[in-house]
Symmetry: D2
Subunit: 310 residues, 4 copies
């Protein structure tokens, strides 16, 4: 269809759906350009932070090899909890009832004792108090990405993905940040010290701008659901990503976005028509460390040097 | 472990992880009890609204057969868009590039023309203006669930799931409501008429309270990702749901919550140890209409009568 | 390519790969034409006979609604064993070690006691003796399909799929008939009474001829592996089936024939280029009874009448 | 149950189902013991020979690192065809109709021109003539494993898996050897030069004996269907394999043997109760080269030396 809808966006005119920025003008703030000129979006589901893939992700954040991160609430909190107490290797077949009676929570073949979440609570509650205070006294407008940035600063631990995201100013988006233990804590805390607001509108502006004002973009998405759709939808705002790698075990027959082939994203303008996207049908915990080793790590010296010379 | 963490929640003491409400006290507001005494949580992913399962879901909302709904942004907006223009049946194998050139978006084997989203924009923008106005003038504190309630009122169409959710006061939660066309609109709108805040903290309080203060709960969850975890996590707040039916095509081997068997949820206290949960390994578009037909619809007369006599 | 290879087949010239029967001439023997003029090939894996789908299959054989059957060894023997002793409903999660110690074998969520196989042995051994005798004295040239025909006669039980296949002269092919308990028995028996020969060459002639000399063909294939490939390969001999329905849970990404979409079979000439084949991505135990109910059973009166008037 | 069935097997008494060889006595023929004392059974589906996994399998056969091979008809013929003409890399999404019109057959994302099968025909037909002659003049009793052995000799090409199986006297079983292009050729050939018999009874004796008389056994099975069941069933004859690694993408929910976890095989006595079997849920084309590299190839020097000193 013809571009009938023209939207004024920060001085730019946009035609929604066939988005054509009539006049491009980079936002000055919040836009460290990646060395390659390509803004890399990395998305992953919570279980990958619970698994050993966390260390590959931490490596990428530490060396500023990705520019934007999107994950779920569990993908945030399990990283911090691992800084406070270890996750254990178990079995997929351990009985839920017996585990429950012993106070052990199962994530696939991994085990997290209840006590880890208590340590998380002890760590988090004073930070929530402080956030409420800043909101009330300084007018801080909290969003999920700002909260994650603050938590990355507070954990102050080089094992943490989000410590490095904080250090390297990599924004981390997680619009449903209340969907997990963080939400449990926020819920409890809201009865003791009410008033905290987490706004998702400012974050969608910030995420979309990362896509809109990038010279080119790439998406690396491990798993499905929210993280896959959220990165792809942001890239729709620029008529599609230039590069895309999906790693997941979803299948297309049920019509879910999780299992959709990259070609479905091309129909939406989430991936460019001339791109060569790839879907790897495999467990990311097998594939992603290999991918990182043979790409980012293999070229680490060059990539890190280019970053430094920005 | 022993209950070491005691949390004061609205006058109740809670021990986190082995949650034991020391003194139960029902919230007066926002708690129409379901006829059966069992609060039913229904969750589903976006593609099910795009598919013909929408009609089964609408039936349940219309007759107040479920008490709480959780879905994704697409699960909200596609319902409204279908009130404005039809979705078409296509093929999984249609080429993305050709569809893009024709302005047609593919969702599995379904097709949605760009023009549908333009109609959605025309419908939504004045509502967003009004929401900003109410926020500024009346101090309305918007949350995703409140916004969905308003949209259900505005659509005023008995084909809509959320029209009936509005009419029957069924809360609908979607913490990442910005992750879709609604987010696109909110993003564009924020440049024309900035200031809208969508807070996810109030919604997590509201959702969790639905679980905490229920006499008993059941979960029917179609698909995985956010909707599955969000309902299960809310039921953790009450030491687990009493009944659970999962319908999805996920597998457990990748360690994701989507593919996890109900027994994993028992380890967390998201499902009670003495429950008999069921996972159906199938495309919900095959199974759910059969399930509704043989359960809710089969007993409709009795169920509807009981609701009326509440 | 041009047809360079011309093969003389029973008086007909065939060009392999672009098979064009130069002169069509029906074999007189072994070719009851189906009422519709369409020869229906039904294939299914062993587990479907273990499950309740057996009754749907038996219904089709009883009423001569299919013309050729292909299954695996387990798909044969479990039908007979069910005539001798019942299969029980269990759970997928029952521990293998405990079951083994109790002499119970698990097939998915079904349980078969060792004793059932002893009863099968008691029934089968005298028949094997008789088969060896007939081979030696009458020169019977045994093939898997002939053996299944004999077993169907011997079981003499209207609950059996192969009793009805025998009665209605529906050939049943199972080239790897030794791959199961039947093979175990044949193996043991061969030490007591050696000499039995089961030839697979005559059966491939017989199966392929069913496809080659059919006016038109349809394939209904439940599951993957041998049964899927064997029926499709036979239909390659006639440049493809006219109709095809696949029901299975396989995925194409691993490159297996089991998960291949029907479109792959079109490239081989196993399905005609102008056909409209269907793949249902679902557990056949959910879908097949529905399919039979809404097609064969729905039109049973007409179908049975037409068969009688052959 | 008690052992009620006692079977005399080559001088040994066996109790079927709780198989206890009362007196163990090794067959002298056909039993090169593997260096480790553990007889290794390797099974794989046809597509893995079509893919680059063929080279890993060839490596194992070349260095006598496996003792018994089980595969499907395609797993045999595609190895020989690759010696005659190359297989090409394509795409999963290439249209079947267009490929058919160009005489190209698709196997997943691989392409095999019709002409390859013509070359195979030219190579195979004289061998079939010779086999019929030997049967008639020398009384050769052909079985699938004997035919594969002969073909491995005839191809005389070190790229071939079965050339090395021939050289190293590794038996290769494929009971449904007629289910593929080999079957097509045998079918055509039977009209020109009838009489070939391929007996599957002698092969089941030979396969089961490899398991029964082994000191210990291991199973490496890539994919499902016939190859998985056939190796596991042979190991039932010895109360279970000592070691087992399954690599496949099947799921257990449909009750198929393909997707069954190793624990199901323990209930049958196909894997020993004290074994520690592993199932890898992944495409073997990703995983198997890594497995071979880190196990067999890593220890190649030692393994090859031990074999030589047999």
């Amino acid at each position: 269809r013809d571009c009938k809808k023209k939207i004024d966006l920060h001085g730019l005119l946009f035609c929604y759906l066939i988005l054509e920025p009539v006049q491009e003008e980079h936002e000055s703030c919040d836009s460290h350009t990646s060395a390659s000129g390509c803004t890399l979006f990395l998305g992953y589901t919570s279980n990958l932070i619970s698994s050993g893939v966390r260390e590959s992700i931490r490596y990428l954040a530490q060396h500023r090899m990705v520019d934007v991160i999107v994950t779920t609430a569990g993908g945030i909190e399990e990283d911090f909890i691992k800084c406070l107490a270890p996750t254990y290797l178990g079995e997929f077949s351990l009985k839920g009832k017996e585990l429950r009676q012993q106070g052990i929570n199962r994530i696939g073949n991994l085990l997290v004792p209840n006590d880890n979440y208590c340590k998380f609570e002890d760590w988090l509650m004073p930070i929530l108090d402080q956030m409420v205070l800043e909101q009330k006294t300084e007018g801080t407008h909290w969003t999920p990405s700002k909260m994650i940035h603050r938590l990355g600063k507070e954990i102050n631990n080089p094992d943490s993905v989000y410590y490095w995201a904080y250090k390297n100013d990599i924004p981390v988006f997680s619009p449903a940040l209340t969907d997990g233990s963080l939400g449990d804590m926020i819920y409890f805390h809201s009865y003791k010290n009410p008033g905290l607001v987490l706004d998702i509108v400012e974050d969608i502006r910030r995420l979309n701008s990362k896509a809109v004002f990038a010279k080119s973009t790439g998406m690396i998405i491990l798993g499905g659901g929210l993280v896959k759709h959220h990165i792809a939808n942001a890239n729709l705002m620029r008529n599609g990503a230039d590069f895309a790698v999906f790693v997941n075990t979803g299948q297309e027959f049920d019509g879910s976005d999780s299992g959709a082939r990259p070609d479905e994203a091309i129909s939406w303008g989430k991936i460019r028509m001339d791109a060569s996207p790839v879907k790897v049908y495999a467990d990311a915990s097998i594939v992603f460390p290999l991918l990182v080793a043979e790409t980012f790590a293999h070229n680490a010296n060059r990539l890190i040097k280019e970053k430094k010379s920005d």
